[in-house]
């Protein structure tokens, strides 16, 4: 009962901001925080629960973004359907990537995902016919949408806020369901010791591939959202190593293998970073680096892990 009440409160809080303010900067900040929450939660499925630390998740973000943009600009597909298909495209791409990269373990897996991400970025940069190369893709204006009598013209940020909040909530729900399911238990075993997991009858390949697909799906959705919100994508915006790395940091600093961890990480790091960026323009990732180092040294279970430990002691 208390758990349900807490969830309800959080849900209300999440939906509140557009009603509390029409300050476009604050809404933009909130949207950015939620976008990174979605990314952190998505990454956490594979990196936190399954223990497969990917440094190349930007691949799925970029694929989702480009798929959405291309489907709208070239094929006229309604953008928000395109976003869903962007997620699907990311899932498709995740299959061969998993096939290649899952043959490796630990840091070697991580490095291989980095290499794949760079290859994909370079392809996007050079395959002009498909992606427009370094010039990128631009949506001048999103088509207005009829919603229950009102017409949304996408001028205000509020509708975007609700969409990203819903996506983030969906990802968090998926994480929660996974953590309670047998697959979630299997993933934690794989994270501890893959060979031992095989030796108790766990199909580790199937578990990893499924988890990667789920993780890629949500990351792809985030990419699609990004494209429609910023209305411009280019290879360096959606495929850079920095983006992959930031996803890792958010999840690690917040707390791996938990539902709330990446949320905390995103709120904390993104807010700090964006505020810093407002003031100083460059170098906002200083905090990411600093807190990652502090987390690994003093709080390996992340901020949420630390909070839970303090609560447990107090009982």
């Amino acid at each position: 009962m208390r758990r349900a009440a807490a969830v309800a409160v959080v849900a209300v809080l999440m939906m509140a901001p557009p009603f509390l303010t029409s300050n476009q900067f604050l809404l933009h900040l909130a949207i950015t925080v939620l976008l990174w929450t979605l990314l952190g939660v998505s990454w956490n499925l594979l990196g936190g629960f399954a223990g497969q630390v990917s440094f190349g998740h930007a691949t799925f973000f970029g694929v989702g973004a480009y798929a959405t943009m291309i489907l709208y600009l070239r094929l006229g597909l309604a953008p928000w359907y395109g976003m869903a298909l962007g997620g699907a495209a990311a899932v498709l791409v995740s299959l061969p990537i998993g096939l290649i990269c899952f043959r490796l373990r630990g840091p070697y897996f991580s490095l291989s995902t980095l290499a794949v991400a760079e290859i994909v970025r370079l392809i996007a940069l050079n395959w002009d016919a498909l992606t427009n190369g370094p010039v990128g893709l631009l949506i001048t204006a999103l088509p207005p949408v009829r919603l229950g009598g009102r017409v949304l013209d996408w001028e205000s940020k509020a509708p975007f806020y609700f969409i990203i909040a819903a996506l983030a909530a969906l990802a968090m729900l998926a994480t929660w369901r996974l953590s309670r399911a047998r697959l979630g238990a299997y993933l934690l075993a794989i994270r501890e010791d893959e060979d031992a997991a095989e030796s108790v009858g766990i199909d580790t390949v199937r578990a990893k591939v499924l988890t990667l697909a789920l993780s890629a799906f949500f990351t792809g959705l985030a990419g699609g959202f990004y494209g429609l919100y910023f209305r411009y994508v280019d290879p360096d915006a959606v495929f850079p190593i920095a983006l992959s790395v930031e996803m890792v940091f958010i999840a690690v600093v917040g707390g791996l293998a938990t539902v709330i961890g990446p949320v905390i990480g995103a709120v904390f790091l993104t807010t700090l970073g964006e505020l810093f960026r407002e003031r100083f323009q460059v170098g906002h990732l200083i905090f990411y680096g600093l807190f990652m180092m502090l987390a690994i040294r003093y709080l390996p279970e992340g901020i949420w892990g630390g909070v839970r430990r303090v609560w447990a002691v107090k009982r």
Binding site: V53, I100, R103, L104, G106, P107, Y108, S110, L111, S112, L114, A115, V116, E118, I119, L122, I123, L125, N126, I241, A242, V245, V248, F249, V252, F280, V282, G283, H284, L285, I286, Y288, G289, L290, F291, M292, M293, I296, R297, P300
Partner: protein, 288 residues
């Protein structure tokens, strides 16, 4: 034919510097089994060191080696002693993540302090290239090559002939046995990390006059570094040298004969192939 030789020469020259970066990373891996993601940023610091000592004090970059190499050696030892030493027992992945954090910290502090504007080190003697046998060889690159070769030779002699060098090699092969033989592996680790950092810094100083400087260049450099080190075999100095030169050649020839656009891709594809099919690389010692 001339184009071929030209790109061959460019490839080897650039490759020698890649090699030096790779040697620094691989030596650290060999002794401590850690992959230092901040290595590329240490190169960046060397580059900026050469830049600032040139701009502020009019010191020629190649002369500034005498200043920056010892400083980076010291800096590396301090990083090991006060930051890394307590992290390493936490495991490979934790250390990897920690150095990722360090990398971001260094790069962004640099970004904050020096802005993201591209810098160049302009040298009066860099304008006209040498032309032995009609092949254009930029003077800074040639100087860099010669010095890189000299430093690598010095490193080889150090590892092969001195007690400390032998201690480093022993620890690299079997840390436990080395400890039982009375080698202070804590000290060896600290010196090795200093060495790796010094090599990175030196590579940065040497590369400075030939590249555009920007604070996040470490990102691309570390990515190339992996290709080199995995190709040559993690832990093998000879492998890193071979890998570096090979990468330089692949990029140079690739740019001419395949396509300028995809030349960087080739490196990563090779990297993936090596990881998958011959993870110990050409000469590797590390476990896969």
């Amino acid at each position: 034919m001339e184009t071929f030789v030209q790109s061959l020469v460019s490839g080897v020259l650039t490759g020698s510097l890649y090699a030096m970066i790779g040697v620094g990373l691989t030596v650290v891996f060999g002794v401590m089994r850690i992959i230092n993601l901040a290595h590329g940023d240490l190169v960046m610091l060397g580059m900026y060191g050469a830049f600032w000592s040139h701009v502020l004090w009019r010191i020629d970059p190649f002369v500034s080696l005498l200043l920056w190499v010892p400083l980076m050696f010291l800096g590396g030892m301090l990083i090991y002693r006060f930051l890394l030493r307590s992290i390493i027992p936490g495991g490979e992945l934790n250390t990897l993540l920690y150095t990722a954090g360090l990398s971001l910290l260094i790069a962004n502090l640099a970004l904050f302090s020096w802005t993201g504007d591209y810098r160049t080190i302009k040298l009066p003697y860099a304008i006209t290239p040498l032309r032995p046998f009609g092949i254009a060889v930029p003077i800074p690159l040639a100087l860099a090559f010669v010095l890189a070769a000299a430093i690598t030779l010095a490193l080889y002699l150090f590892l092969a002939r001195t007690d400390l060098g032998r201690a480093i090699r022993a620890t690299s092969q079997n840390a436990e046995a080395a400890a039982l033989m009375g080698i202070d592996i804590g000290r060896v680790a600290m010196v090795t990390f200093g060495l790796g950092s010094a090599l990175a810094g030196a590579a940065g100083v040497l590369l400075g006059p030939s590249l555009y400087l920007y604070p996040t260049v470490g990102e691309i450099l570390i990515a190339k570094c992996f290709v080199i080190v995995v190709l040559g075999g993690l832990g093998s100095v000879a492998g890193a040298i071979a890998g570096g030169i090979l990468l330089g050649l692949v990029e140079s020839l690739g740019a001419v004969y395949v396509s300028v656009a995809y030349k960087d891709t080739i490196g990563f594809v090779i990297f993936l192939l090596v990881l998958l099919f011959r993870p110990s690389g050409l000469f590797g010692v590390g476990k896969s």
